[in-house]
């Protein structure tokens, strides 16, 4: 091992502090969610129990956690699939200049930087002026796409910036049609990045608050419900929900990571004595 410079130890300490800073509140919540039945939102703990997790699954006084959870999942999946498909198409198209590509690029940047509440406001206004009903699956869906698509596209731009075009030429050379090239060559090669885009699409939607606020209509998505709960619920059930949603998010990442790992394992298993001889 190479010797470590002193700065390494200083920075390690800084990094540890940073982690503490990041995790502190989340851990606070996690701990508080194990309050006893008489516990409140703040310390001190009044007993230790899993009461609030049970309570989470019981009917709440107001609202509908699991309904909103379900909606968020469905919406997240809708956004995820759309983001992946549209980003890939966009990414492919943007590899080549076409009339209007500059304008479209700046629109993408605008979508990325526009304060979310403006989208909420604008889409809400538009629907009401057009006499249409806002609904999480229409207006909410569209409003969220203005946030996930720029992310997806930026990732795709980065991916295609590094994509070796000779793969496509090789495929064409071997008789693949444009569609076959996409299906059998381009998509499999960029698949790991697509998993990233999908993950981003899902979680950005799953956690999106501001853009959904005025566009979700009658039924809350999970973040709106949580927001509602912060104004309606005064029990650690809120924290139990926080803890559980964190675990859920972790499970999602875990699944995606496992998928990615499994894929590479399967490939790696094919042979392990690679490159032993010169030939």
């Amino acid at each position: 091992m190479e010797p470590r410079p002193r700065s390494f130890y200083v920075l390690s300490a800084v990094f540890a502090l940073f982690l503490l800073f990041l995790y502190g509140p989340t851990l606070t919540i996690a701990i508080l969610s194990f309050q006893g039945p008489g516990g409140g939102l703040t310390f001190p703990m009044r007993g230790v129990s899993t009461y609030w997790f049970h309570d989470l699954f019981a009917q709440q006084a107001v609202g509908d956690i699991w309904g909103s959870f379900g909606r968020s999942i469905v919406l997240g999946l809708m956004v995820m699939v759309t983001t992946v498909v549209v980003s890939v198409m966009g990414g492919l198209a943007f590899r080549k200049r076409f009339t209007g590509s500059g304008v479209l690029f700046y629109l993408i940047i605008t979508a990325l930087v526009i304060p979310s509440i403006l989208i909420s406001l604008g889409v809400g206004l538009m629907f009401s002026q057009a006499d249409m009903t806002v609904h999480w699956a229409t207006s909410g869906f569209g409003a969220q796409l203005t946030w996930t698509l720029p992310f997806g596209l930026l990732i795709m731009f980065a991916v295609f910036n590094r994509f070796d075009k000779s793969y496509e030429e090789a495929a064409r050379d071997l008789g693949a049609t444009p569609w076959q090239t996409l299906r059998h060559v381009v998509l499999p090669i960029i698949a790991p990045s697509l998993i990233g885009v999908a993950l981003f699409g899902f979680t950005l939607s799953y956690d999106e608050f501001a853009r959904t606020l005025l566009t979700a209509g009658s039924y809350n998505t999970l973040p709106l419900e949580i927001y509602g709960m912060t104004t309606n619920v005064t029990s650690p059930v809120l924290y139990a929900l926080g803890t559980l949603t964190t675990l859920f998010s972790l499970a999602i990442i875990g699944i995606f990571l496992a998928l990615a790992l499994l894929g590479s394992r399967r490939r790696a298993r094919a042979a392990s004595d690679a490159g032993k001889g010169l030939l």
């Binding site: 390690s12 800084v14 990094f15 982690l19 990041l22 995790y23 509140p25 989340t26 606070t28 919540i29 508080l32 703040t42 310390f43 549209v86 198409m89 198209a93 590899r95 080549k96 009339t99 479209l104 940047i109 979508a111 930087v113 526009i114 304060p115 509440i117 403006l118 989208i119 406001l121 604008g122 889409v123 206004l125 569209g142 409003a143 203005t146 596209l153 930026l154 731009f157 980065a158 910036n161 075009k165 000779s166 496509e168 030429e169 956690d207 608050f209 501001a210 973040p223 949580i226 927001y227 912060t230 809120l238 924290y239 926080g242 949603t245 964190t246 998010s249 972790l250 999602i252 990442i253």
Partner: protein
């Protein structure tokens, strides 16, 4: 192949689909077809709403509805009130302070991960460790500071019991401190990720070359790493600045509703059904954000640096 040669050759191969005969005659069509879903989404959910907001900013409102008109009243009121200027100033203040802090922390963390952690496995593992808290609901992450910072919260209790302070610190919660703390907590990752990305793409021999030329650690940082990380810093800056400037919840929660930024002005107006007035503020905010980002984009070609 050396890096610049690689760059040259990739640029030379820039034309994506070698023009096959079929495509040559209508080079735009395929592109248009492929971006049409994207264009449609952006047209309907971005352009149209912005246009509508711009239009409505000239309308008037009643208690319960908005009335088409052409009136400068909303803007008059907005620019006529000293509160507006203070709130915009406050918005910039938050953006500037949060930017500085997230940059410092984000750069340090990314630097540590990219240059002090030696194996890629550890780099990825520690990086993921940084991202995990970001998968919790933002709102929950925010309010989780409250039991920590409150008058009788963990921080005060600890400080009291250690004898560091005699009376609870009031400014820990419901203060600018709390707002900035929460912002930093929420958004540092947006700085870490792009900076880490660019740093990972810095050729390691460059660092060795600098060391070979006698540069000390800080000199390498200043003369080599910092300039080469500029694109990542810019992208992170764009994220953080827009997120902070557009925020309206964090400020409300963490200041105990006592402070305001432009986002809150808008959301308050919306809450009170004052859409035209909200729209006018929104247009001014949008202009401000776009201007800020426009200036930032002068320093980095986002498309090339991705």
């Amino acid at each position: 192949m050396n890096p610049s040669a690689a760059r040259l050759s990739s640029r030379r191969r820039a034309a994506p689909f070698p023009e096959s005969v079929a495509m040559q005659s209508r080079p735009n069509l395929a592109g248009w077809l492929m971006v049409s879903p994207l264009a449609l989404v952006l047209a309907v959910f971005l352009v149209a709403p912005i246009v509508l907001i711009a239009v409505v900013s000239f309308w008037t409102a009643t208690e319960f509805s908005i009335v088409p008109a052409f009136s400068w009243e909303n803007y008059d009121f907005l620019f006529g009130s000293s509160v507006t200027y203070r709130v915009f100033l406050n918005t910039f203040k938050y953006a500037a302070i949060v930017w500085a802090l997230t940059f410092l922390i984000g750069f340090t963390v990314a630097y540590y991960l990219a240059f002090h952690i030696r194996t890629q496995t550890w780099q990825i593992a520690l990086f993921l460790l940084c991202t995990i808290p970001f998968w919790t609901s933002n709102i929950i992450r925010m309010i989780s500071w409250i039991p920590f910072l409150g008058r009788n919260g963990i921080a005060n209790s600890a400080l009291l019991s250690w004898g560091v302070i005699d009376a609870p610190l009031e400014w820990l919660l419901f203060s600018d401190f709390a707002v900035i703390l929460a912002f930093v907590h929420l958004y540092t990752l947006f700085m870490v990720v792009p900076i880490f990305n660019t740093m990972m793409r810095i050729d390691k021999p460059l660092i060795e070359a600098a060391r070979d030329a006698g540069a000390s650690g800080p000199q390498i940082l200043w003369n080599v790493i910092l300039p080469l990380t500029k694109p990542g810093i810019m992208i992170g800056t764009i994220f953080v600045v827009t997120l902070v400037m557009g925020d309206f919840i964090t400020v409300r929660f963490m200041s105990g509703s006592q402070s305001a930024n432009v986002g809150r002005l808008i959301s308050n107006d919306i809450a009170l059904l004052q859409y035209p007035s909200a729209s006018a503020t929104a247009i001014v905010l949008l202009a401000t954000v776009l201007l800020t980002i426009g200036i930032l984009l002068r320093f980095v070609d986002i498309r090339k640096e991705l």
